[in-house]
């Protein structure tokens, strides 16, 4: 399986990840190499194997539905790139 430069651009867009145009070819080559490595997995039959998502096979712990966190808005926003009136600012989304 090999990926083209266009595939890489499409994946980068899905990930909202800027990549330099001169690097696209090398990513295509590296990712194709990784996909080649992965074809080894096709050598074994896993039809009846249950997928393993987590080493302990545990489910998410539940807790009582009560507030445990304090309001740390000011502390968290102190390290934000741009805030105003308690809100995070981004470029205009709606014209």
């Amino acid at each position: 399986m090999s990926l083209t430069a266009d595939d890489v651009k499409k994946i980068a867009h899905l990930a909202r990840l800027g990549i330099d145009s001169q690097d696209v070819e090398s990513y295509a080559k590296d990712l194709s190499g990784m996909l080649d490595l992965m074809t080894q997995m096709n050598d074994i039959d896993t039809d009846r194997v249950i997928p393993m998502a987590h080493p302990m096979d545990q489910v998410q712990r539940l807790r009582p539905d009560v507030v445990t966190e304090q309001d740390n808005r000011e502390k968290f926003q102190a390290i934000a790139p741009q805030v105003e009136a308690g809100l995070y600012l981004v470029p205009k989304v709606i014209e």
């Binding site: 990926l3 595939d7 890489v8 994946i11 980068a12 899905l14 990930a15 909202r16 990840l17 800027g18 990549i19 330099d20 690097d23 990513y27 590296d30 990712l31 190499g33 990784m34 490595l37 992965m38 074809t39 080894q40 997995m41 096709n42 074994i44 896993t46 194997v49 249950i50 997928p51 393993m52 998502a53 987590h54 080493p55 302990m56 545990q58 998410q60 712990r61 807790r63 740390n72 502390k75 968290f76 102190a78 390290i79 934000a80 790139p81 741009q82 995070y88 981004v90 470029p91 205009k92 989304v93």
Partner: protein
Amino acid sequence: MHNKTIADLAKGLRSGEFSSVELTQSFLDRIKQHSSLNSYITVTEDLALQEAMAADGRLAKGDAELLTGIPMAQKDIFCTQGVKTTCGSKMLDNFIAPYDATVVEKFNNAGAVMLGKLNMDEFAMGSSNETSYFGVVKNPWDTNTVPGGSSGGSAAAVAARLAVCATGTDTGGSIRQPAALCGITGLKPTYGRVSRYGMIAYASSLDQGGPMARSAEDAAIMLQTMAGFDEKDSTSVDQPVPDYLAGLNNDLEGLKIGLPKEFFGEGLNSDVAAILDAAINEYRKLGAEVKEISMPNLKLAIPAYYVIAPAECSANLSRFDGVRYGYRCENPADLTDLYTRSRGEGFGKEVKRRILMGTYALSAGYYDAYYLKAQKVRRLISEDFKNALSEVDVIMGPVTPGTAFGIGEKIGNPIEMYLSDIYTIAINLAGVPAMSVPAGFVDCKPVGLQIIGNYFAEDRLLNIAHRYQQVTDWHQQTPKGFE
């Protein structure tokens, strides 16, 4: 002072031979003297001296623990309140963590002194510390070679005696591989044993923090503080923490060691293999029985890992979007441009490669072929461990195929770099604990022995490593120029 173990330093602090402030100052001086290793990203000199003063106060009051006043350092993946936490990335070069990781909080409560934050591969993705935005770390045994990664700064700092001990994290070998290449003792605990709260996520079902130290005894002291249930980590395991020091000297008579034939085949450097043979012979002398075992699915660990880890990484790293914290690009034209350029400019090449791989593996039409398939293979690998560990007490093998490689030697070929983790990755997929223990040298470069145990058998692993360190002195060797 800098060559002593934690237990000896604790004695010295109590007898008044030296104070924590003196001890801390001597390590701060060494860090400055050997700054060319680049093992630290941030040295917290003032904070360290304040903490040392507080520790001296606790010692005077008789209210001290073993780690009180001991100068150690944190891998820069652990959030430290008020101190820059970069994760080795430009993305977080301006990030002052607003809270402490649970691991950091535990060391603080124990009165340990933090000397600073240690260099690492960017977002813990790498096997050589060459992907760090803050530059490559040099291996103190040979400064033309890498220290391993991703906890390369931790391993180099402990080996060069620039910290008594350090924390590391291990997603596919990131504690054990650098520990092996730098000649120190490292332990990746069972998944869920050490809290991940405040430990910046790479691949959440594989990441695990652990101790990196001079000896198994020091690692046991550290793990005693690090381990335990934490309700702030949703995958933390609620199981009592044993006394890791109590069983260190237990007899190894009748210990059953399994050697997977898949670990000793093609690809393993023959000089490294000879050193492992000698180490296993030491265990025979200590009363262990050794048998060959087979783990047929081990060979699939690398392909499965390089689907699962990038998939989880692409999801975890989506939080770095230039909006709430971290790097933001200049003059974004619109919201998409803000996301795309902040991420594009903030992340390095290896991180991008893994985000791309993971995004592809999770994208519509490919999920079953890659991600689901890899999760099924993960089950088979984990069953190999369960079967093996029902037959033997521990599994032993190499940590790395060879010794430390040259700076620049593998960075241009990512697949070759990935293959250097061939003996460590399967352990993370299964979630079992494993250690790297210094076992000898090839051409003056350290070699590690890997000891793998059953879930929550950290106490047994530490015991097995400690007994070996009682009859060998590989772990006491110091690199030239750092005595």
